[in-house]
């Protein structure tokens, strides 16, 4: 139906390389999220797929057919833009039926399909309004409807939720998910928000500086980051990353940081000595008051959030060492108190001086 292959795709703007030799296959019906910091090339890639940007090199294939030379309108795609991009001078109804008019669908059928789609996204009451009178969330729904009604094989979404406030964002995110389940079409979604990526994606494509860093399911990305960057990018609160070095002492590998030292688990036995970074997610750090643990650190800040409590520890670095404790048991801990922290050995990550992950299990 709609299998999209990007083969060796590159794009340069003058001297600036926005996308570098990118290859990716997106299967029919997948929800793929391109995620990364600003400037990583994710939007450029999406716009190349759409046809608004010409690739400097490489091929874009839809169902095996090379489409580089096709205009956007001939590629059978649908797109939702960051700024909803509705036609301000046409009513919501006229906006939605636009694509059908371009395909010369007769008026009665048009009206029917518009009504169906408007129901699907809950905007039937807005059909006679002007876009200028709609709220941000409503406008974005109209934009969705406008694309949905043309039944494209693939939906391209360029940060559609970025301009909305947090609550609306969650609502529409759920909407996107629901639509994907219902339509079973391919969705290619671009965002810089890792939470959106984690919740929506079947597969996440992490990008940075024009290249793909890692491709995988949310689970894989989260539990098996391929490098420092991916580990740091995903997770909220983000993974604790401590600089230090690996030293071999009496046949065991130890990790030495400024404020503590730690025995490394069995699987790191053969790790080379040298500069390294230790990683562990806050939820995998156990805290006890006055008990025994792998390391001991003083408390810098306590953040009771209700469901969890975040504890910030001073590890001798600028960035605090964070642990998450369920419930409010730890909410009364005083600043400065030294606590014992136990680190789940199965969840320890090590990254070498270049940021690459060491000895994945």
């Amino acid at each position: 139906m709609a299998r999209i292959e990007l083969v060796g795709l590159s794009k340069s703007f003058g001297n600036v390389v926005a996308v570098r030799d990118l290859s990716l296959t997106i299967e029919d019906g997948e929800f793929v999220v391109l995620v990364g910091p600003s400037g990583c090339g994710k939007t450029t890639t999406l716009r190349m797929i759409a046809g608004f940007v010409d690739a400097s090199a490489g091929e874009i294939r839809i169902d095996g057919r090379v489409v580089n030379d096709l205009e956007p309108r001939d590629r059978g795609l649908g797109m939702v833009f960051q700024t909803h991009a509705l036609f301000p001078h046409k009513t919501v109804m006229q906006n939605i039926e636009f694509g059908l008019r371009m395909k010369r669908v007769p008026a009665p059928e048009r009206a029917q399909r518009v009504r169906e789609v408007a129901d699907m996204v809950h905007i039937s009451h807005l059909l006679d309004q002007m876009p200028g009178q709609c709220s941000g969330g409503e406008a974005q729904r109209v934009a969705l409807a406008r694309t949905l009604v043309t039944q494209p094989s693939t939906f391209l979404l360029d940060e559609p939720l970025s301009s909305l406030d947090a609550k609306l964002r969650r609502e529409l995110r759920a909407e996107c998910d629901r639509l994907h389940q219902a339509l079973k079409r391919t969705f290619i979604y671009v965002t810089h928000d890792q939470e959106e990526a984690m919740t929506l994606a079947d597969r996440i494509v992490v990008m940075r500086a024009g290249e793909i860093v890692q491709v995988g399911t949310p689970m894989e990305i989260y539990s098996n980051p391929v490098n420092y960057f991916v580990a740091d990018f995903f997770g909220s609160p983000s993974m604790n990353l401590l600089a230090g070095e690996i030293v071999q002492v009496d046949g065991t590998a130890r990790f030495r940081a400024t404020s503590f030292e730690l025995d490394l688990p069995e699987r790191f036995k053969a790790a080379e000595s040298g500069a390294a970074t230790l990683g562990i997610r806050p939820e995998h750090v156990g805290v006890t008051l006055g008990g025994k643990g792998d390391i001991e650190l003083p408390v810098r800040l306590v953040e009771p959030l209700g469901r969890d409590t975040l504890l910030y520890f001073d590890a001798g670095t600028e960035r605090a060492f964070v642990a998450v404790s369920e419930g409010l048991d730890m909410a009364d801990v005083k600043v400065g108190v030294r606590m014992a922290l136990s680190l789940d050995p199965r969840r320890l990550y090590l990254f070498d001086a270049d940021g690459r992950r060491l000895a994945p299990p």
Binding site: A50, G51, F52, E71, P72, R73, R75, L77, G78, M79, F81, Q82, T83, A85, L86, F87, P88, H89, F98, G99, M102, K103, M130, P131, G132, Q133, C134, S135, G136, A139, A143, R146, T147, T150
Partner: protein
């Protein structure tokens, strides 16, 4: 809701002294700002219009003594002007000139603006060249045109060389083509005006609705007709209206260059009024014509105001959300 009710109950019905003095201060401020304009209108414009009106009803030429000696003639002058075929022709010529040159300016300006709406190499260079004609003083245009359009002049020479035929129309001396020639001059002179306005309008159209239209299957033509053009309406009207009004008032090219000639071929309203007043010295007749022209222009202007206001409001509603948020 309930907060407002509480506040409403506790507000005294009289505004505080501070509020009153503040309002007085603002009122003083407003009037002091408007004062110069009002003074000017009262002491310059009003007397002039009044004098004009006076002469419309009192026959006077410079050969009489003081202007207060002029005799009252009622509506005779109006009748004389309204039945004067030369006046009628002047009206026709002015309207034709204004319409033709406005449309010409618009077409050229729009074509140029549309070609230049996306950045490309050399854009700044072309932009600079294109605004030059507007920066030439209209009188200069008139005299330079005389040099260029002379029958044995460079323009005919160039065209002859390019097309290979012996092209020697008498641009300025043939009564049949004199007026169109002046229209072409006007277009050359003022196309940049339309160009600048339309280019600004095109640049202000957001790019994403256009891309949305493209990906929804619209051809280039459709995108233009359904998205770009409607969003350009206010700007288009502005370009047309302003140009039309100024073209009706055009004087240097028709007078300095041709004195309304050859014969009366380029005798537009301003020229005819000028002739009547300063060459034939029929001050009163000139006054009547001026008043009639002024009335005509006021009608056109009122219509134009209504049009432009409507467009501006449409523009504001379209982008209402954005304005409120931003």
């Amino acid at each position: 809701m309930s907060v407002a009710a509480v506040s409403a109950a506790s507000i005294p019905s009289q505004p505080s002294p501070r509020e009153l003095s503040r309002r007085r201060a603002i009122k003083r401020f407003r009037w002091s700002i408007l004062a110069p304009l009002i003074l000017l209108l009262a002491f310059v414009l009003m007397p002039v219009l009044f004098l004009q009106l006076y002469f419309s009803f009192h026959q006077w030429t410079v050969y009489l003594g003081s202007w207060s000696d002029a005799e009252y003639v009622g509506l005779d002058l109006f009748l004389e002007v309204l039945t004067d075929p030369r006046f009628g022709w002047a009206v026709v010529r002015s309207l034709a000139f204004a319409t033709g040159s406005t449309i010409g300016c618009f077409l050229v300006g729009f074509a140029l603006a549309y070609l230049m709406r996306r950045p490309f190499r050399g854009q700044a260079f072309y932009y600079t060249i294109f605004i030059l004609p507007m920066l030439t003083v209209p009188v200069v245009v008139a005299y330079t045109a005389e040099m260029l359009l002379y029958q044995s002049g460079p323009l005919n020479d160039l065209i002859s060389r390019i097309t290979g035929i012996d092209f020697k129309p008498m641009w300025l001396t043939d009564p049949n083509i004199a007026l169109p020639t002046v229209m072409l001059l006007e277009i050359w002179n003022w196309a940049p005006f339309s160009f600048i306005i339309l280019l600004a309008g095109l640049a202000a159209i957001p790019s994403e609705p256009i891309e949305a239209a493209e990906i929804l299957g619209a051809s280039r033509w459709r995108v233009f007709w359904e998205v770009e053009l409607p969003l350009l309406r206010p700007v288009i009207f502005l370009a047309l209206v302003l140009r039309f009004l100024e073209a009706m008032a055009e004087f240097p090219k028709t007078w300095a260059l041709l004195q309304g000639g050859p014969g009366t071929a380029t005798e537009t309203l301003p020229v005819y009024i000028f002739l009547t007043t300063w060459q034939y010295f029929e001050i009163s007749k000139g006054a009547v014509m001026s008043y009639l022209v002024m009335l005509l222009m006021i009608v056109i202007v009122l219509f134009a105001i209504r049009l432009l206001r409507r467009e501006k409001q449409a523009l504001d509603t379209m982008y209402a959300r954005q304005k409120a948020a931003g």
